[in-house]
């Protein structure tokens, strides 16, 4: 009997504990919580870790150097997802009470939380990933993908490989080697539109998550098809596998171009010389001598506040993580100025992210000039379309090999609008920002 009573008493007790834990912890007056749905575990950990480190270290540096943002401490937390959508959704539920921004870090998780953003009123920040039509800020009021969407990336790559003359692609064959997941499928609609207009053949070749490390079938197909170019939307172990196989099949490396997530120093290091000539588009440039990176070195790394791997400091991904945190921080700053407050709420941060003004002067002021192209966001433009550069692997590191490239708005905008409209209709009633007249 006692056991039974204890059991029945235990149930609500456990439950109350869970309720208390799930509730948002009371924040100190002058701090904002920015939680990151990170993944330092699972099959994609290798690519995730340097990005997360960069994000963390920028926040830590600001706290150490300036005491946060205008006197407001940044509380940087991580919730581990392992790139697993289910864990990601759980993390979203866990953090939405406290964090003023959601950084879902996977296209799958982004799609999962996107419909809830209107209801929960927390901005989603997905820099350079997520659902490309999110750049339509009228439809996706709460979602941001600065400084460039995947469609921007696809357009930039095509521009570069055709040396500025897209008509020269006529009659060519382009293979898209992609991860068989929402992320990898993102560029297909745009590339198809391009293929129709400029008369080249597009052949998407999917790589399943289980086949990432064993892509011999895919590369045999590439050998048979003899494409003029191979574009890659790869992630995690898939990148290494692809570059290794490309070297093996003797596919010319300079005809092989990846999206920004396929240009990871750590991946290429394990391929080494064999990957020489491989290119990857990037919206960020590593610049270890910039004042912000030096400050991170001084306040965080040398002060042993955090640890990163050897050589990681110079990596494209680590420094890109720094830039990603910068978007959040600049959004907070803009919101602080506009609403004349110190501790910004999620709704205020949304305004801030919508009104980012990162021109040359602003980037210089935060010590990031030369690391990213200037851009600004607006209520109809949540991506900013900053453009980027082509990086090339020289056997030891990535080097810039092109001038600044911008995406082709004429091709992308109509597609963004139709896809955004389709999304809103499928999820009716979906609120549209009617106030935005741009």
């Amino acid at each position: 009997m006692k056991t039974l009573m204890r059991k029945s008493a235990l149930l609500p007790a456990v439950f109350a504990l869970a309720a208390a834990l799930g509730a948002s912890p009371a924040l100190a007056e002058d701090a904002v919580n920015v939680t990151n749905l990170s993944y330092r575990t699972g099959p994609f950990a290798a690519t995730g870790t340097p990005l997360m480190n960069g994000q963390r270290d920028y926040m830590l540096m600001l706290n150490e150097r300036d005491g946060g943002v205008n006197g407001v401490k940044l509380v940087y937390d991580e919730c581990e997802t392992g790139y697993n959508t289910e864990k990601g959704a759980e993390c979203y539920e866990k953090t939405k009470g406290s964090s003023i921004v959601t950084q879902p870090w996977s296209t799958g998780i982004t799609l999962q939380v996107l419909p809830k953003s209107n209801v929960d009123k927390i901005p989603i920040l997905a820099p350079g990933y997520g659902f490309s039509p999110m750049s339509d800020g009228k439809v996706f009021q709460w979602a941001f993908n600065p400084p460039a969407s995947y469609w921007d990336g696809a357009s930039m790559i095509l521009k570069n490989i055709s040396e500025g003359n897209l008509d020269s692609l006529k009659g060519k064959k382009i293979v898209l080697l992609h991860l068989d997941a929402p992320y990898g499928k993102e560029p297909i609609p745009l590339l198809q539109a391009y293929a129709e207009k400029y008369g080249f053949t597009l052949l998407p070749i999917p790589v399943g998550v289980k086949e990432m490390q064993n892509q011999s079938a895919q590369w045999l197909q590439i050998r048979r098809e003899r494409p003029d170019f191979v574009l890659m939307w790869g992630w995690g172990a898939m990148n290494v596998g692809a570059v290794t196989e490309a070297a093996k099949t003797k596919f010319p490396m300079d005809k092989f171009v990846g999206i920004w997530w396929s240009g990871h120093d750590g991946d290429m290091k394990s391929v080494g010389e064999a990957g020489k000539g491989y290119r990857s588009i990037s919206w960020s440039l590593p610049h270890s001598e910039s004042s912000v990176m030096q400050d991170i070195k001084k306040y965080v790394l040398d002060a042993k506040k955090a640890e990163i791997g050897e050589g990681e400091f110079d990596w494209v991904f680590y420094q890109r993580g720094v830039l990603i945190s910068m978007f959040t921080v600049e959004g907070i700053k803009a919101a602080q100025a506009h609403f004349n407050t110190k501790v910004v709420s999620a709704e205020q941060l949304r305004w801030g992210l919508e009104n980012l003004k990162l021109d040359e002067a602003a980037l210089k002021a935060i010590g990031m000039d030369g690391m990213i192209a200037p851009f600004s966001t607006a209520c109809n433009n949540h991506a900013g379309h900053a453009g980027g550069w082509m990086l090339q692997w020289d056997g030891a590191k990535f080097v810039k090999v092109s001038d600044h490239i911008t995406a082709d708005a004429e091709m992308i905008d109509p597609l963004v609008q139709t896809e955004a409209k389709k999304y809103a209709e499928a999820n009716a009633p979906w609120p549209i920002n009617e106030e935005c007249k741009m």
């Binding site: 330092r40 575990t41 699972g42 099959p43 950990a45 290798a46 995730g48 870790t49 068989d180 070749i205 999917p206 790589v207 399943g208 998550v209 289980k210 086949e211 990432m212 490390q213 064993n214 011999s216 079938a217 895919q218 045999l220 197909q221 050998r223 048979r224 995690g236 172990a237 290494v240 596998g241 290794t244 093996k248 099949t249 003797k250 750590g266 991946d267 290091k269 394990s270 791997g309």
Partner: protein
């Protein structure tokens, strides 16, 4: 007609049209098949001697490879790291036998199978804490594995064969030969086979169950290390490698759970057939990526005709 043509005629015409490419496909299939066979072999050894369907074989491959690379990173010379890794695998075998298997003696197969999944999860978490999640490079040069490639130019085309793949095939053949010799000639090997034939009879003639179990798990660990080295040399070492364990399952179905020969024949057959199907049927007709399921469906169809696999022991049921 067009449809039938694309299924029945065109693939073969393609094969005949580009024989050098076909050779390359067959070689790639063969190398993959050797690796499947190696993993399946680990399964078979353990199943034969203890009726345990060891799901942890995949993670053991990762664990062995990571230990080897990790030790080398710590500054241990490669040739010393190999025996040290073997020592670690031996300790692992002892711990698994002591902590997990011994208390579960005489439980139904299903329970033991679940326990190996538990071991898998435990090792995944444990391994990630120790080694971290990054993709690591297998130490090929230090282990004297050649890395270049050999090229032929038959039929006016070219076939490229990686030297490390050749090493993998040769290594696998030596390992299997050694294993067969061990099982058939040594006292311990005979004890393992005896245990596989009849548990109780083996026990009654004084074969020690726990010694043999540790031994087979250790051998499975050795096979895991070899698999980890050759597969890791192809694609790097990380936890993503764990999924190759699934590749061994249709091999087991096809070859039979108890048959060493079946694991080898099944592995090679599946490696080659799935590559041929993917290249000549899957990619042009089905949108590709059929390798995820082809082996399973193929094995399932074979099983409908031979429920115990090609080389498995005939299932005799008595009421």
């Amino acid at each position: 007609m067009d449809f039938l043509n694309s299924i029945l005629v065109k693939p073969f015409a393609d094969m005949a049209g580009a024989p050098d490419f076909l050779l390359q496909v067959l070689w790639e299939g063969l190398v993959a098949g050797v690796l499947y066979a190696l993993i399946a072999l680990g399964f078979v050894l353990i199943y034969k001697s203890s009726r345990i369907f060891n799901f942890a074989q995949g993670i053991m491959v990762v664990f062995a490879a990571l230990t080897l690379v990790g030790l080398h990173e710590k500054g241990v010379p490669a040739l010393l790291a190999v025996p040290l890794t073997l020592l670690v695998m031996f300790i692992l075998a002892v711990v698994i036998e002591r902590v997990v298997l011994r208390p579960l003696v005489n439980q139904p197969d299903m329970i033991l199978f679940m326990a190996t999944i538990g071991i898998t999860l435990f090792l995944v978490g444990f391994g990630e804490i120790i080694f971290g999640g990054e993709n690591k490079v297998m130490i090929t040069e230090q282990l004297y594995i050649p890395t270049g490639s050999i090229e032929f130019e038959p039929f006016g085309g070219f076939v490229s064969i990686e030297q490390k793949d050749v090493t993998a095939v040769v290594g696998a053949i030596l390992l299997v030969a050694g294993l067969i010799l061990f099982l058939n000639r040594s006292k311990m090997g005979r004890a393992i086979r005896a245990l596989g034939d009849d548990h109780q009879a083996a026990l009654s003639v004084g074969i020690s169950l726990s010694t043999i179990w540790v031994l087979v798990w250790f051998i499975a660990g050795v096979i895991a290390l070899v698999t980890g080295i050759v597969w890791g040399a192809r694609a790097g070492v990380s936890f993503a490698l764990e999924v190759i364990a699934f590749k061994a399952l249709p091999v087991l179905m096809l070859g039979g759970l108890e048959s060493v020969l079946g694991a080898i024949v099944g592995g090679l057959a599946i490696g080659i057939l799935e590559k041929l199907f993917e290249i000549y049927w899957g990619q042009p007709l089905l949108g590709g990526n059929t390798e995820t399921w082809f082996a399973f469906v193929f094995a399932l169809i074979v099983l409908l005709f031979r429920p115990q696999g090609l080389f498995g022991e005939r299932i005799i049921e008595r009421v």
